[in-house]
């Protein structure tokens, strides 16, 4: 277990995981909506502040799992409660904990009935999401992975739009079906590793080639549906459209990242040989997603759908970066995961703010609101620019690194990805143009009020990070650097070992 740097003293990670869950218990008893809002905001804020204390103690020079905790759990099956953080997961955890209080703020007036139940779902969701990013035992991981579906199912199914039942069931069944094979893979790995579920021990082993291919396919199905990669994305627009704002934000900013996180954490280290073999297919599927997502977004009338399809394109860039398997690509991909979380999260918040006023997500009903809501359109304008990777904003750095990595890997591949950038400009501008200026027959919406201070506070941190990562991404890259270098060293070392073994 030399991959773990055991936590000394206060069990910070466990606190982060279980504090929201514990906080939710009180809401089962106290059913006052107003209290529920303040209480959840307090709990998520404390978790956010606590998670920030990880930063000063986080060692950037090691690829090992830090703040690790290790306790026996179900000893007869050798299942342990083992958690830890490395450079790949730390930013994702911080993204999760920091975004949650703003999701609560965004639901402040948006959710009007069954508020305590809503907040309980949010808190359970947070526990499961943090857990997924820190779990180092495969059973623990799988339980939390599936556990996320339940609160999300309720978030969409109870507080969603008109077609909420269809959307929630499709979301639930589609993603659940994807993970079934993951369970089979876990059990196979369990038996192949001397009946242990400890994930770091499963990495870089010389599993037979066929087994690796099968494992990779199992991983791929589970993660590609979550990302979602084209053509496994059809659950996403439905879920996004129907989900309440907070649900959309969590879905876009965090849940989608679990798929790409899964690729980095499991597919690459556990099945390196299969990854090398199947890499070209995944790369071209990513390209297909970038173009397909962009073209589809171009034709949408529903703003949430438009952003949902743009996510398909953006996440295509992330998988592209991961599977070019060089440092520019992977670091760009991780950064882009964070960027997409910030930018798309903010865009969904913005659409939610329009929806609260006009009760419509149709572009046609939001035309020309720029003249009534100047602050709002300034903000949504900046987030849209970030979404189309405008230089100076966060996504530019990420996309630039991914494209540089893609170029290093294969020139035609990189060329094929670039039309996606033109498409991104086209569909985001189409939306912006309608919102800001509209046309000659704009509906008279002079009764619209501009953002209030709660809403501005909700969006301000997103704005801050758009420019911070856009202009000074170095601190973020430094945190992931050791882990990514280690991942790539191990990966290429493994390849060399395979080639060397093949020669005898």
């Amino acid at each position: 277990m030399d991959q773990l740097l055991l936590n000394q003293g206060f069990p910070l990670l466990s606190t982060l995981i279980f504090l929201p869950l514990a906080g939710s218990l009180l809401l089962f008893v106290v059913r006052d909506p107003h209290f529920a809002r303040y209480w959840t905001l307090a709990v998520t804020s404390i978790v956010a502040l606590l998670s920030l204390t990880l930063l000063p103690k986080f060692d950037r020079d090691t690829a090992a799992f830090q703040f690790a905790e290790h306790h026996p759990w179900i000893e007869s099956l050798n299942i342990t409660y083992v958690i830890g953080v490395d450079g790949i997961s730390i930013l994702l955890i911080l993204l999760t904990t920091l975004i949650m209080p703003f999701c609560v703020l965004a639901s402040w007036t948006y959710i009007k009935d069954r508020v305590p139940a809503f907040m309980i779902c949010m808190l359970i969701m947070e526990t499961a999401m943090i857990g997924v990013f820190v779990a180092l035992d495969f059973v623990l991981f799988y339980i939390l992975w599936e556990a996320m579906l339940i609160p999300m199912y309720f978030l969409i199914g109870i507080w969603g739009g008109p077609r909420k039942i269809y959307a929630s069931i499709k979301f639930f069944l589609y993603t659940l079906a994807g993970s079934i094979l993951l369970l089979v893979a876990i059990i196979w790995l369990y038996t192949a590793n001397g009946y242990s579920f400890f994930i770091p021990d499963m990495m870089w082993k010389d599993y037979p080639f066929t087994a690796q291919i099968l494992l990779f396919i199992a991983f791929f199905l589970a993660f590609a549906i979550k990302v979602p990669m084209f053509p496994f994305h059809t659950w996403l627009p439905a879920a996004h459209v129907e989900a309440p704002t907070a649900g959309s934000v969590i879905l876009a900013s965090i849940l989608l990242k679990m798929g790409t996180y899964g690729f980095l954490r499991f597919a690459l280290p556990i099945t390196p040989e299969a990854t090398t073999t199947l890499m070209p297919y995944v790369l071209w599927l990513s390209i297909a997603g970038i173009i397909y997502g962009g073209l589809t977004a171009l034709a949408q009338q529903d703003m949430k759908k438009l952003i949902a399809y743009s996510s398909v394109g953006h996440m295509g860039f992330v998988t592209l970066g991961i599977f070019v398997l060089n440092i520019d690509g992977i670091e760009g991909a991780i950064l882009q995961m964070i960027n997409h979380g910030i930018t798309t999260g903010a865009l969904f918040l913005c659409v939610g703010m329009i929806y609260e006023r006009t009760h419509s997500r149709e572009l046609s009903s939001a035309t020309g609101i720029g003249q009534y809501m100047p602050v709002f359109v300034t903000l949504i304008g900046i987030f849209s620019l970030s979404s189309l990777a405008f230089p100076g904003t966060n996504s530019f750095v990420g996309e630039f690194m991914i494209l540089a990595g893609a170029f290093r890997h294969d020139v035609p591949l990189a060329l094929a990805a670039i039309p996606g950038a033109v498409l991104a400009a086209a569909y985001m501008l189409r939306m912006l143009q309608k919102i800001i200026w509209g046309g000659t027959n704009n509906p008279d919406q002079s009764w619209l009020t501009d953002l209030n201070s709660r809403e501005i506070i909700t969006l301000a941190p997103f704005l801050f990070f758009v420019f911070w990562i856009g202009l000074g991404p170095q601190p973020f890259l430094a945190m992931m650097h050791s882990s990514v270098v280690n991942l790539l060293d191990q990966f290429h070392g493994y390849q060399q070992a395979i080639t060397a073994a093949g020669m005898y």
């Binding site: 073209l295 171009l298 520019d328 020309g368 300034t378 540089a404 170029f407 020139v411 086209a426 046309g439």
Partner: protein
């Protein structure tokens, strides 16, 4: 060696701060009590003036350095660094960028001041100035960036501001669409820029991606890579600088307020493509074939847009096509490796074209937003100052000696002739004649003859001093700027060419004075013929012509917009809507729906057995028990 000076970072930063301050003040107060416009005017105009002062300082600092060491740099911070890749946010002032810096800040200051008058009383006065400051900041990043990536930041920034300002009068939907068109056409060009940059990075980016390192390492590039990079970068240039085939956005961009047309769509932003080619002269000089493509694209653009310019009715459209046409000349210059001639034309063009647009702005202002030249006429008595300054600008544009445009245009044409590209020279001279024709067609129709709209004429009056003083200053520039690069034929010493020499990879064309005299004589003759025909047709008043046949075809700009619409816009939209509305829901999601359907069928088959009658379930029970007991007896045998 390059000197590090920290004030370089302040130059782009100042207008950006100005934009932020004005913008935030506007957002915070626009719904409540509005702050006085004068406050915004002072705030917004102070930043370009300050940057101009700094630009002058840059010039003198550079001048104090030895010729081969004329470079000031400042690295503000490391932008991002991964593995071998290291991109820094840094600035470089060398002779080329310092010249750009001088005229950009100079014209920007004047146009900011002019806008105080032109935009007075506008509902979102502050917003306009915030955008204008944001534009200037981006333009300065573009000019001063120390490498292609920083240049790209400015490149996209100016594109954004152009987009926002074209759509400024958003009540009219066509203005908004013009803004969109500008942004998307520019994005297509940027596609080339990004690719060129990516190839360059891929080839030699790991050993430094700023101009100085790139210049040092350029010899490591394979010839094919240089060709490819130069071609792709030129695609980017055709977008931003409105050349064939991407020029279509610029005439539409005239939808923006006139000061914007003067600053962004005439003097500064649209010349960014020429600047880029000159910046990468160390690559272009090695691929004369690409240079020839650049030159021919330029001169053909000049020809086509001059034809359009002869048949336009909107005063701003005439000037817009003349801008496209003049940009074509500049590309002809840099394409033939006469980089300093191209840049010198950028420089003089900034004065006389900004002047002409601002003059047109005064006319439009005086006539309460009338832009059709056939509604004007006889205005020289009503707007004498505007008339005189515009006349100077027109003489410069038409290439009348000794106005500035004559020297810079002549230098390009002379280089074409001296380097043996007679074809380009002939077209160039032809275009010069056409330029003189359409420019003076405009002058005669607008200012001479008798008024066509008596009512508008009666109410026309000279604009306030805040607008006329910039006109006068620019007119002085348009008149004298040419003397800065006086060729030896006229006893000059070509200061601008010598100043630019350290930045450009140019070899001077050695040619005899006799060729120079031929070039000048041809240009002057073309000018004289053009102006003569214009005088014959329009000098003593003329009625609005009815366009038919070729002239109607030219008036509709050869129906290029319609062609693009059919070829690109519609197919793109159709594919998008086919995927979005049909394929995604029915094809991509098909397998999923098939599985769902299968399960449903499976379930409903079994549903048939669930009839809900106790007697039926009793029969099931009996059947089940019988089967069980049969199996049990079998197993005990």
């Amino acid at each position: 060696m390059a000197q590090n000076v920290s004030y370089l970072g302040m130059i782009p930063l100042l207008p950006l701060i100005g934009a932020a301050v004005v913008g935030i003040l506007h957002l915070a107060t626009c719904k409540k009590k509005r702050l006085p416009d004068q406050l915004y005017a002072v705030l917004a105009c102070s930043t370009p003036i300050l940057t101009f002062v700094l630009a002058v300082k840059v010039f003198f600092d550079l001048n104090g350095l030895p010729v081969d060491g004329r470079a000031l740099t400042h690295e503000v911070f490391t932008w991002f660094e991964v593995g071998e890749m290291n991109i820094s946010m840094g600035f470089l002032a060398d002779p080329l960028s310092s010249l750009m810096l001088l005229f950009v800040t100079f014209t920007a200051s004047l146009i900011h001041i002019y806008s105080i008058g032109y935009m007075a009383g506008d509902e979102s006065f502050a917003k306009f100035f915030a955008y204008l400051n944001l534009f200037l900041g981006s333009m300065l990043i573009l000019v001063l960036g120390n490498g292609p990536v920083v240049m790209f930041v400015g490149w996209e920034g100016v594109g954004l501001c152009s987009y926002l300002l074209i759509s400024y009068y958003s009540e009219d939907r066509s203005n908004v669409l013009a803004g969109n068109k500008a942004f998307i056409v520019n994005r297509i060009g940027d596609f080339g820029f990004v690719l060129g940059m990516a190839f360059l990075f891929w080839a030699i980016g790991d050993s430094g991606f700023d101009y100085i390192s790139l210049k040092t390492n350029a010899h490591m590039l394979a010839p094919a890579t240089v060709t490819l990079v130069c071609l792709l970068l030129f695609v980017g240039a055709t977008g931003k600088s409105a050349q064939i085939p991407l020029y279509v956005w610029l005439p539409d961009a005239m939808a923006g307020p006139t000061p914007v047309s003067a600053l962004i769509h005439a003097a500064t932003m649209v010349t960014a493509g020429v600047y880029m080619v000159a910046r990468f002269s160390f690559l272009y000089v090695h691929v004369p074939t690409v240079g020839l493509i650049v030159a021919w694209t330029g001169i053909l653009t000049a020809l086509v847009s001059a034809i359009y310019g002869m048949f336009q009715n909107d005063i701003k459209k005439v000037l817009a096509y003349s801008t496209v046409s003049q940009l074509g000349y500049m590309f002809a210059g840099v394409g033939l490796a006469a980089y300093s001639a191209g840049i010198f034309h950028v420089f003089t063009h900034a004065f006389f074209k900004a002047l002409l647009f601002l003059g047109a702005g005064s006319v439009i202002y005086a006539l309460h937003h009338e832009q059709n030249i056939w509604k004007m006429g006889g205005l020289k008595t009503k707007l004498p100052l505007t008339y005189k300054t515009m006349l100077i600008g027109s003489l410069a544009l038409a290439g009348c000696p000794p106005f500035s445009g004559f020297f810079s245009k002549d230098e390009i044409l002379y280089s074409a002739l001296a380097s043996g590209h007679t074809g380009i020279w002939v077209v160039g001279v032809l275009v010069a004649g056409m330029t003189a024709y359409y420019t003076f067609r405009m002058i005669f129709v607008v200012f001479h003859g008798s008024p066509r709209d008596a009512h508008a004429y009666e109410h026309a009056h000279e604009p306030p001093a805040v607008m006329t003083v910039p006109l006068v200053i620019l007119a002085i520039g348009a008149l004298f700027a040419g003397f800065l690069n006086l060729p030896s034929l006229f006893g000059g010493s070509q200061q601008v060419t010598h100043w630019l020499a350290p930045s450009l990879a140019e070899h001077a064309h050695e040619a005899s004075h006799s060729i120079e005299i031929i070039a000048i004589a041809a240009s002057v003759a073309a000018f004289a013929i053009g102006i003569f025909i214009a005088y014959r047709k329009f000098g003593k008043g003329a009625e609005e012509p009815v366009y038919s046949g070729f002239s109607s075809f030219a008036y509709h700009t050869f129906r290029i917009n319609e062609l693009y619409d059919v070829l690109f816009v519609r197919p793109y939209k159709a594919i998008g809507s086919a995927i979005g509305n049909l394929i995604d829901a029915h094809v991509t999601d098909g397998p999923v729906q098939l599985i769902v359907w299968f399960y449903r069928q499976f379930g409903s088959t079994f549903k048939l057995l669930q009839v809900g009658y106790v007697r039926v379930y009793a029969i099931y029970m009996i059947i089940g028990l019988s089967v069980m007991s049969y199996l049990l007896t079998q197993s005990f045998k």
